[in-house]
Symmetry: C2
Subunit: 288 residues, 2 copies
């Protein structure tokens, strides 16, 4: 659920990451987080004393909520982008959170580390990776036997709306295509069960988190339909035009139709997926 | 969520209905109901002594559950198809239900009747009508002031799955196109809020009912992915081919890919929408 902003992150392109840590993107992620935190984090509370790794914390959009909801757990939040990490740390300081340690690290550099975490939290990260099963296996090696992983991803193929619009779907497809070209998968949400199963986790359980926004929920229309989803699609305008996926009129018509779904007779639907699974005792360890 | 079976119902084609009350279709609707009743009917309980109209009861797939869940309410179930009604009555008798009266009636023939019902229940009916707002207004005239309407509809545009498949989406589109040609709308679920609002109802509240089927829920995969959804799409094969929407190889490839989503690494997602709204005291009455 991150805007695909190819080129924003040249230092990690080799990993297939397409992160957005520019200022405007960070603001969008904040909007997204404030509208969705209740939905995404509902019921997530880690036990006192447990150690939790957040992979790809970005600017801390999820980290702050994670740490607040589980004040007696110890969090280690990693990201490959130093400026994102600095922003995340600043926010954690402002929030007075003392239970988060931020570390500059690439997930792949952790391969071979011992299994020291009780839980891992991964949100909006797998969508950017060209080998999500490999990443999940690597994470399994960082988990103590029986430890849990929580994965949250969006799925842009789950978006539908009224009035329906071919142009809007074409604009959404631009983001999915750009993300695909960068090695990611904007439709990964639906696949969490097979991915975690293929990576050797046990007790995989997936919960769809449905966002439904109509005018009985004007705050959600504003926060999600306009400021999260439509803003995210708008964010790839230049990249989509540069790639020749649509011309400017076509793209702008799609964006106009997305805004149209926020009007009095409009409806917007989107599904996030949250999976929880357990590291198998016989399959954890970085060597697997 | 009814298979579009054009021609099956010549006597009501003028109304834009596309009902499926052939034997095989009735069996499919039974499978559908048994898998989905818990989801669709969760929390629906009408007060003792209240009078409830079910519009378009068909073979009674919803009627039996409605009447069981509210044993002290009185139900009137109408349908325009005499053989469906007979089947529904037979099922109600077998279930020992004494609180349902079945009546042969076309919704439109009720226009001008006095407002005698406390509640109306309408499931998988609006999708077949060329003027759903008009139908909802007519129903409003049958409701006592302040009475409630419950509407349930599917939305075939909400279906997505893993592995994704262009062929499967093309086969689904056949059903949607056939339903459109018959005057209906297979994507009506997302529009319940604007439709009920346009029809003058108050306090419109829509709840998405998400069906998520992966191999952690094999019974649901069998009952929904295979026996409800895929069977429904398969049911329009001859009509789709006759209409030239796809050729046989294309259609069959789509069906094969839908079955593929029921395998070990497959996932299938679909959303029903349930709306509840209140008849406005100043807008009810058949004359409006």
């Amino acid at each position: 659920m991150c805007g695909a902003t190819p080129g924003a992150s040249a230092d990690c392109a080799g990993r297939g990451y397409v992160h957005g840590y520019q200022g405007r993107e960070a603001a969008r992620l904040d909007d997204q987080a404030s509208a969705l935190l209740d939905l995404l984090h509902d019921g997530i509370k880690y036990p006192a004393g447990s150690s939790v790794l957040e992979v790809g914390c970005g600017v801390g959009s999820q980290t702050i909520t994670l740490a607040r909801h589980s004040p007696d757990a110890r969090f280690t939040a990693i990201d490959i982008a130093r400026d994102s990490l600095a922003a995340a740390k600043h926010r954690a300081d402002l929030a007075g959170l003392a239970n988060v340690e931020f570390r500059h690290a690439d997930l792949y550099s952790l391969a071979g580390n011992t299994a020291t975490f009780d839980h891992v939290f991964v949100c909006f990260v797998l969508e950017h990776l060209d080998d999500p099963v490999g990443a999940l296996q690597l994470i399994g090696g960082l988990l103590k036997p029986g430890g849990s992983i929580t994965v949250i991803e969006g799925d842009h193929g789950s978006a539908f709306f009224a009035p329906d619009s071919f142009a809007a779907r074409a604009a959404i497809d631009c983001l999915a295509e750009l993300q695909r070209r960068a090695g990611g998968d904007a439709m990964i949400g639906r696949s969490l069960y097979p991915l975690l199963t293929a990576a050797g986790y046990a007790s995989v359980s997936v919960r769809p988190l449905f966002v439904y926004a109509d005018q009985s929920r004007p705050d959600l229309v504003d926060a999600f339909t306009i400021r999260t989803f439509t803003a995210m699609i708008e964010g790839v305008r230049e990249s989509a035009l540069a790639a020749g996926l649509l011309n400017a009129d076509e793209f702008d018509a799609g964006i106009a139709d997305l805004y149209r779904t926020a009007e009095a007779d409009g409806v917007f639907c989107y599904t996030f997926f949250r999976a929880v699974a357990t590291a198998r005792a016989d399959e954890t360890g970085a060597a697997t």
